[in-house]
Symmetry: none
């Protein structure tokens, strides 16, 4: 039996223990966007650091001005290569709570159409995913006595809130973080039977806009007519952001966006992706949104967007209140591709709104994060070794795909440390991440651990 | 000395006693919206009913499913006519408490720029106002032995919380409430020296709209592009409700809206109303909103509007969440004038949105009340007799003005009992109703009592 086979056997034998530990982790409500959960974020960090120590890493919880980082190392004497594994221990807020079938921080196993699955906030994004790597490392050390490569583990607690501490932490710990390759486990499979390596990520610009028109909330009977209504101003401005063909109207927005190369376009068409079932699963109607004349895969992997992620103004409780509010606000995000410059997109957006602002209204902006898009080279040896590991585990070539979401850390690895990143994860399209009843397939968890056992083994051969 | 002059003299002599009683009334924190104050609401009702008994009415506290009504009658044998007086004993919550110079339910007299004034929650709205009528009735009965007309008094305890019990109470007590004329003392003077009768009230149609596009909230990275965003659908629909000239675009909306008669238009222009200071006091910029080419008074008294009173969708908490929500909703109200039909406005609005709804979205509506506009005929004998009483007291013709808001009771008097209403009150623009340090000028209280003494006397001549 090869070393890798023995480690796989050990991982299989320890699966129930791995799951028990994951349940402990999922029970901690580490909601990073809500200041009320600050102590819970620290508790999750400490818990993860303790686990890394138990596995055999030298680990610490490192303070930042926000939620702490977990930073752990294990450097075998004979290792040729060094990888940095990144994950995040924070989770999205669970609201709306009434749509959860069971409480979001009381993990449980349920049976879904494809078998058993883990249900909890963070089950997939990202506690379940990052745990596949930790358990693979645990199996290697426990069974083979050592890891095949040197490993640094970095776990962040602000991924769901724009990672404000990441850049300062990178600047302060650059040498400690440097490795040959970064591994990120925050992406999905192609389908439940087919692994994937994500090589493209969209970037992100987040903005919050507040319109003010009056000194206080006003009674719509007394002032309705001559009072400028900030909700009306806001809806007018936001409705101007797209044209009838679904394109964003902000001048210069498409600068740096290239058309998809013919070869990639052909490859993606050949994937047999079913637009209708992908959208239908989410309750969406196909063909009614996005830029006209582009496939769903092109729209989410290779085209930029502008979305209103939140809007609020006036009275929104039960019943009715005839108020003209003093203010109204919205949260807007742009997904970026290719060479779009986040700073230029932000300033073009602000200019666009300012130019349309009616007299009598003022506008204020607040920045919520920025990251450029990523496209990875397809011919690196590490990519080939990782792809081989996935092929061994799943009996299928992994798909080299894109992802609509942003993983800001990947941009930082590249810009701050000059490191390439392999994004490998085992999430499924129906995992309901950021939604009620988030889940992670038990099979994905198990085969995810096994995939990392193989990938770590193969990377040991990287010279 | 005429009978009325004798009663006026008696009212003057009793002013200090009237004020002492009002202070007792103002000391009861009858906050109808807060369930914690339910016993205080009942205490206020009982106190007012006891006062009406003492004055000489047959009075009772009548239970409803909410706060009780006070219902009192006095029917002189020789009275030709019968009036129904309406007021409300409940008050707005006093918050924010830290902005009150003295506790809101410890009434006091302070000296303001125009003389002494009564400071307390409810001093103006509506305890002080309704007490002017009660004290006039007291003076008539005490001095002249009888009222000049039959009087029914109805005091409500839910005016500040939407009057949910009013309609059932009307239905159950229709015959007991029927009279020739209703008098409502919940409005203001034109200015501190000039009385007014409000003859126009705008109507109201309230609607709640919910747009749905997906089966659940979605991640804007994974779905941004092909997912139809309900906030974008909603902002698009709402931004189509007005044209560039500030007019509402819903077809048929202006049916039943007449241009202001030249005479009234001239009268209003002559009032010396200062648009800039009225709007400026609320932090608004003049000349930037409402239908172009119309004065502020015309806009708020005689023109219909469409306002967005609330909007909500997606993530609106601290920080940022890159969600595409499944739903977004808004609360919208229309102020109506003239003969606009609330039911037709509601259905035209719904058709307007449905016709513009993009494929892939569904829309749901929820009704939040409806009332037609009120315009009292300017040539009724009762109006002339009341106007004459105000003229006698103030030495000035009362202004026949409009009010931008709705007073639902007035619509109910007309629709349920076929009764016209005279709205006469002595509040000032600076009374701070619904705000901290609410006050009522002592002069308004005193001359308010005297005005009602004269109006009651004059109505005794109504044949």
């Amino acid at each position: 039996m090869s070393k890798t086979d023995a480690v796989l056997k050990a991982a299989d034998a320890g699966l129930q223990l791995s799951l028990d530990l994951l349940f402990q982790f999922l029970s901690i409500p580490s909601i990073s966007t809500d200041p009320a959960y600050k102590p819970e974020c620290r508790r999750a960090a400490q818990w993860a650091s303790d686990q890394l120590s138990e596995i055999g890493f030298t680990s610490r919880v490192a303070d930042t001005s926000g939620h702490p980082m977990v930073l752990a190392h294990r450097r075998p004497a004979n290792a040729q290569r060094h990888v940095l594994f990144y994950g995040h221990y924070d989770v999205q807020p669970p609201e709306p709570l009434d749509l959860w079938q069971t409480p979001p921080f009381e993990p449980r196993i349920e049976t879904g159409p494809r078998g058993e699955r883990i249900v909890a906030r963070g089950a997939s994004d990202d506690k379940g995913q990052l745990f596949t790597f930790l358990e693979a490392a645990r199996a290697w050390i426990a069974e083979a006595g050592e890891l095949p490569v040197a490993v640094t583990v970095l776990l962040e607690g602000e991924e769901e809130s724009g990672s404000p501490s990441l850049k300062p932490f990178f600047d302060a710990n650059k040498e400690e973080l440097r490795a040959d390759l970064a591994l990120v486990c925050d992406t999905g499979q192609w389908d439940p039977e087919t692994p994937a390596i994500t090589t493209r990520l969209r970037g992100l610009v987040g903005e919050e806009v507040t319109i003010s028109t009056a000194g206080r909330d006003l009674h719509s009977g007394m002032y309705g007519g001559p009072a400028l209504n900030p909700i009306r101003v806001l809806t007018g401005l936001l409705s101007a952001l797209h044209d009838d063909s679904g394109r964003v109207t902000v001048p210069g927005f498409y600068d740096g966006v290239a058309e998809l190369p013919e070869a990639i376009s052909r490859q993606w068409s050949g994937l047999g992706f079913d637009d209708a079932s992908f959208l239908g699963e989410a309750g969406l109607t196909p063909g009614v949104a996005g830029e006209k004349g582009r496939s769903v895969l092109e729209q989410i992997w290779a085209r930029p967007t502008c979305e209103i992620n939140g809007i609020h103004g006036g009275y929104t409780g039960e019943g009715f209140k005839t108020v003209i509010p003093a203010q109204a606000s919205a949260k807007i995000s742009f997904r970026l591709v290719g060479k779009q410059d986040p700073a230029k997109v932000r300033s073009a957006f602000r200019e666009f709104l300012k130019a349309r602002l009616p007299e009598g209204a003022t506008i204020a902006f607040r920045e919520h994060g920025a990251s450029a898009a990523i496209e990875l080279e397809a011919d690196s040896p590490a990519l080939a070794l990782a792809a081989q590991g996935l092929q061994q585990e799943w009996g299928k070539e992994p798909i080299l795909m894109g992802s609509g979401g942003s993983i800001p850390i990947v941009g930082a690895f590249r810009s701050e440390l000059g490191m390439p990143t392999l994004m490998i994860g085992f999430a499924q399209d129906d995992d309901r991440i950021h939604s009620p009843n988030e889940k992670y397939d038990l099979k994905a968890f198990h085969k995810g651990i096994r995939s990392w056992v193989r990938i770590l083994g193969n990377l040991g051969e990287w010279r």
